[in-house]
């Protein structure tokens, strides 16, 4: 798994986004109150299952990449990532999705490893909250 920080700076660089989306976390706090820890644990478990399934779909789709198919898959993964407040990982997925839609995305070989790295980084930081 590559380090999220190993890539060069680019426009809308995910590195410029916080690892966690604290705005979203504050929404959870508002909703969950004292139950936040248990709620986060539940969301993380759901996310891990969902991410694994979508990731496998993405790997399969990358065998014969079509930008339209990939952008729909990445959009969906981005939604799941956003739901667990992984701000930087979501920013990376959004930039990939936009690149795929615009036909400017070329880094197919590193897509999954970079996404994994940002997700791992985010989940590790989320552990410190729950």
């Amino acid at each position: 798994m590559s380090s999220p920080g190993s890539q060069p700076a680019e426009k809308n660089d995910p590195q410029s986004f916080p690892v966690l989306d604290h705005q979203f976390l504050s929404f959870w706090k508002e909703a969950a109150g004292e139950d936040l820890g248990a709620f986060l644990e539940e969301l993380k478990s759901l996310f891990k299952v969902e991410y694994q399934e979508r990731r496998e779909e993405l790997i399969a789709a990358l065998e014969s990449p079509e930008d339209e198919v990939l952008s729909a898959l990445v959009h969906r993964i981005c939604g799941s990532i956003g739901n667990v407040a992984l701000g930087r990982a979501a920013a990376y997925c959004r930039s990939v999705e936009l690149g795929l839609r615009a036909g400017t995305f070329t880094e197919y070989d590193s897509l999954v490893s970079r996404m994994d790295a940002y997700v791992s980084e985010g989940l590790e930081e989320l552990e410190t909250i729950s």
């Binding site: 929404f27 508002e30 909703a31 969902e50 959009h75 969906r76 939604g79 956003g82 739901n83 667990v84």
Partner: protein
């Protein structure tokens, strides 16, 4: 308390909505795809529908068009949740008949306020 239909295929978003809405006493009907959601709207007669745009079977936008084009269902308040924040898309959804549009992530309190506004308590 309102009877709310949630049409979303993302288990995380469903859980987030469920967590927030059940705490406030709302009754939920959950469906993970568009055609099933249309069927449940006809059968269960919810007070309001919360619809994700990217649904399998029938997209959220198609579902809104079906609801607004059906005399029997046209009055159903619709809240759309989407990960896409483009103005053009939001205008398109408003024209199609969405009453409110929330771009993820959104504050649970705003969603609850929208439900209260769209479904008066005596209904």
């Amino acid at each position: 308390m309102s009877k709310i239909l949630i049409a979303d295929d993302d288990p995380l978003m469903i859980r987030l909505l469920e967590f927030n809405l059940k705490r406030h006493g709302h009754q939920l009907i959950i469906c993970r795809e568009g055609l099933g959601a249309e069927h449940l709207i006809r059968v269960e007669r919810p007070d309001i529908a919360i619809i994700d745009l990217m649904l399998p079977g029938k997209s959220g936008e198609e579902l809104i068009e079906t609801i607004r084009g059906d005399e029997d269902l046209a009055g159903l308040p619709i809240i759309v949740v989407t990960g896409r924040g483009e103005d053009q898309l939001h205008n398109q959804l408003t024209q199609a008949g969405a009453n409110r549009i929330f771009t993820k992530p959104f504050a649970p309190s705003l969603l609850l306020s929208a439900i209260s506004e769209l479904v008066p308590p005596n209904e």
